[in-house]
C-alpha cells in the first residue's frame, strides 16, 4: 500500500513537472531544432538532362503507306545547374515542411540531320528559363545524428509545378514535378540561431512543360548550399 502511494505520488509529480519542463524548454546548444523553428536556405542545384521526343519530318506518299523522310531530329534538354531558395518551418524536432523555388537556364538542342537534299547537319538551340515551385515534407533522423548532433540525415518528399519559358519569354509551358531526396544537414554552430551546410541527392519525376512526353521521366537531381536556422 505504502509502495503504491509512493508510485502514485511520483507519477503525480512527473505529471505536474513535465508540462513545466516543456514550457520552459530553451535551446541550450547542440540539440535539435524544435517545433516552430524556421529554416531558410539556398544554393545550387543540378539536374540530369534528358532526351525529348524527336519526330522525323515526313511527307506522304501516293499510296498513303510508308512515309517519306524529309529530315530527322534528335532533341534533348542538356543537364543543367541552377539555384534554389527554400523556407521551412519545423512542426516537431524531426519533421519540417518547406516551400521553395528552383531556377535554371537549361539549353534545349535539336540535332537536324539526314536531310533528303543533303542540307548540312545542324544543331538548333534555344535557352529555356526553368522554374520549379514546390513544397516538401522533411523527416529528420535525429536518432542517427552524429558529431554531437551537428550532422543530421534527412529525407524529403514533395512536389510542385514546373514552369518553363522558351527563348523570347513569350511562351510558357507548365508541368508537374515530384521529388524524393535523401540528404544531410551539418550545423556549423551550436546556437539557437546557426548556419549549416545542406546537401541532398535524389530524383525528380517531371511531366509536361517543355517535355512533350506525357508519360513523365525520372531524373537524378542534387542540391547543395547553406541553410540558416532561426
Amino acid at each position: 500500500m505504502a509502495r503504491g502511494w509512493r508510485l502514485l505520488i511520483l507519477t503525480a509529480c512527473l505529471a505536474t513537472v513535465a508540462p513545466q519542463v516543456v514550457s520552459a524548454q530553451v535551446y541550450i546548444g547542440g540539440g535539435f531544432p524544435r517545433g516552430g523553428s524556421v529554416e531558410l536556405g539556398g544554393g545550387g542545384a543540378w539536374v540530369q538532362g534528358f532526351e525529348i521526343e524527336s519526330p522525323t519530318a515526313q511527307l506522304s506518299r501516293a499510296t498513303g503507306a510508308q512515309r517519306f523522310d524529309l529530315f530527322s531530329t534528335d532533341a534533348d534538354v542538356q543537364r543543367f545547374t541552377g539555384a534554389h531558395l527554400r523556407a521551412g518551418v519545423y512542426l516537431t524536432s524531426s519533421i519540417s515542411v518547406e516551400g521553395g523555388v528552383r531556377y535554371a537556364t537549361p539549353a534545349m538542342s535539336i540535332r537536324l540531320s539526314g536531310d533528303v537534299e543533303s542540307a548540312e547537319e545542324t544543331v538548333a538551340t534555344q535557352t529555356l528559363s526553368h522554374y520549379v515551385f514546390d513544397g516538401s515534407v522533411l523527416l529528420h533522423f535525429n536518432g542517427a545524428a552524429f558529431a554531437g548532433g551537428r550532422g543530421v540525415p534527412f529525407v524529403s518528399v514533395g512536389g510542385g509545378q514546373v514552369r518553363e519559358l522558351h527563348e523570347g519569354r513569350e511562351l510558357v509551358e507548365t508541368g508537374r514535378a515530384v521529388h524524393g531526396t535523401a540528404g544531410l544537414k551539418y550545423w556549423l554552430g551550436t546556437g539557437r540561431r546557426r548556419v549549416g551546410l545542406r546537401a541532398e541527392i535524389g530524383v525528380v519525376s517531371r511531366t509536361g512543360a517543355a517535355d512533350s512526353d506525357d508519360s513523365g521521366r525520372v531524373l537524378p537531381m542534387a542540391l547543395g548550399g547553406l541553410t540558416f536556422l532561426f
Binding site: 525529348i52 521526343e53 524527336s54 519526330p55 522525323t56 519530318a57 515526313q58 511527307l59 506522304s60 506518299r61 501516293a62 499510296t63 498513303g64 512515309r67 517519306f68 524529309l70 529530315f71 531530329t73 532533341a75 534545349m108 535539336i110 537536324l112 536531310d115 533528303v116 537534299e117 543533303s118 542540307a119 548540312e120 545542324t122 544543331v123 538548333a124 538551340t125 534555344q126 522558351h166 527563348e167 523570347g168 513569350e170 511562351l171 517543355a210 512533350s212
Partner: protein, 333 residues
C-alpha cells in the same frame, strides 16, 4: 510525268474588276496600289452550283457527292470559319463568269497537263472573291471509287485542291519531286495544295495536311484561333542581300506539322502564319521541286542558286503572337 492539279490561275475580268498578278504564297493576293490584299470570300456560305454533266465513270450525282465531301473537308477545319451551300444543278459552264460559282467537267484537250483549274472574279479594290468556277478536264480519266481506281484520278482529291484555290489559297511547295522525261514525278508531298498531283489511283490527297490547315486558318481564323495560333517572320539572305522566292518550311517538333511559306520581296522577307504554338525548326530551300511559275509570278526574279540549309536556332511560336526578326543565311551552291 504527273499532270498538274491546276494551271496558272486565271483572273476573269468583268467590268470594274482588273487584272492582278496571282501571287501564290499560302494565300492568293491582288496588288492594290503598293500593297497586296489577300483574296477571300467575305460572305458565307459560299453558294455554288454543280453542272448537270458527268464524265466517263462519273455521273452528275457522283460528281455532286465528291464535291460536297471536298467542301465539307475544308469546312470542318476547326481553326477556321468557312461554310458552303450547294444551290443546285445547272447547265451553265464552269468557266462562264456569269455571277454563279459553278463546278463541273469541261473538255479541254488543249490543256494536256491540266487536270483541273480554278477561275476567279474578284473585286481588286478589296480582294473579295465575287465568283469562282472550277472545271475538271475530261481529257483525263476520273474516279469516285472509295478506294481509288488504278489509272484514274481521284475526283475528291483533286476537288479538295481546287476548292482550296476557290477559298483563296495558292500553291504549297511542301513536296519532293524527281525529274522524269517530259516533266516531274511526285515522290511525296505534305500538302493538298502541292501543284503536282499524285499518280492516278491515289487517294492520299483526300485529307488536309498541316500546311493546308495553316493556310486556311491564316485567311479565315475563328476568334479562338486568333488567340492560340502564331507566326514566324524574318528574312532569307545570301551574302547580306535578300533572297527572292526562297521556300521556308517550319517544322513543329511537338506535332510534326510542316508548314511552308515563301520570301515574296527583294529584301527576302517572309511570314508563315497559322502556326500552332511551340518550338519549331526552320529549313530553307530553293524553289526547285516544281516550275517556279506554279507558285510565283513568272516575272519575279526568283533565286534558285543557294543550298538547302537549316536555321541554327529553335524558333518558338507564341500563342496569339509572332516571332519576328529571324534571319536565315544561305550560301550559293
Amino acid at each position: 510525268m504527273n499532270p498538274v492539279k491546276a494551271g496558272p490561275l486565271v483572273l476573269v475580268l468583268l467590268l470594274s474588276v482588273l487584272v492582278a498578278p496571282a501571287y501564290a504564297y499560302l494565300k492568293l493576293g491582288v496588288r492594290v496600289g503598293t500593297r497586296t490584299v489577300s483574296l477571300q470570300w467575305n460572305a458565307f456560305p459560299i453558294r455554288y452550283f454543280i453542272t448537270n454533266r458527268g464524265a466517263p465513270g462519273v455521273d452528275s450525282a457522283q460528281f455532286e457527292s465528291a464535291i460536297t465531301r471536298a467542301f465539307s473537308t475544308w469546312n470542318a477545319v476547326e481553326t477556321s470559319e468557312t461554310s458552303s451551300q450547294l444551290v443546285g444543278f445547272t447547265a451553265a459552264s464552269p468557266t462562264s463568269g456569269d455571277g454563279m460559282s459553278v463546278l463541273g467537267f469541261a473538255s479541254r484537250p488543249d490543256l494536256e497537263r491540266v487536270l483541273a483549274a480554278t477561275n476567279f472574279i474578284i473585286d481588286v479594290t478589296t480582294g473579295e472573291i465575287v465568283e469562282s468556277d472550277i472545271f475538271f478536264n475530261t481529257a483525263f480519266s476520273w474516279s469516285v471509287s472509295p478506294a481509288g481506281e488504278t489509272g484514274r484520278h481521284d475526283l475528291e482529291s483533286i476537288a479538295l485542291h481546287e476548292i482550296g484555290h476557290l477559298l483563296g489559297l495558292g500553291h504549297s511547295a511542301i513536296g519532293e519531286t524527281e525529274v522524269v522525261p517530259g516533266g516531274r514525278r511526285v515522290l511525296a508531298a505534305e500538302a493538298v495544295m502541292f501543284p503536282i498531283a499524285f499518280s492516278p489511283g491515289s487517294i492520299a490527297d483526300r485529307t488536309l495536311k498541316a500546311d493546308d490547315i495553316a493556310g486556311l486558318t491564316d485567311i479565315y481564323p475563328n476568334p479562338a484561333t486568333r488567340r492560340t495560333r502564331g507566326s514566324i517572320s524574318g528574312r532569307v539572305t545570301k551574302n547580306g542581300a535578300g533572297v527572292l522566292g526562297a521556300h521556308v518550311v517550319a517544322f513543329n517538333t511537338r506535332t510534326s506539322a510542316l508548314v511552308g511559306g515563301f520570301t515574296l520581296s527583294d529584301d527576302g522577307s517572309f511570314t508563315i502564319a497559322g502556326l500552332e504554338a511551340g518550338p519549331h525548326v526552320l529549313r530553307v530551300e530553293p524553289l526547285d521541286d516544281a516550275e517556279v511559275d506554279s507558285f510565283l509570278d513568272a516575272s519575279m526574279n526568283v533565286d534558285l542558286n543557294f543550298r538547302v540549309r537549316f536555321h541554327d536556332r529553335v524558333v518558338v511560336v507564341p500563342q496569339g503572337g509572332g516571332t519576328r526578326g529571324v534571319e536565315l543565311r544561305v550560301v550559293p551552291k
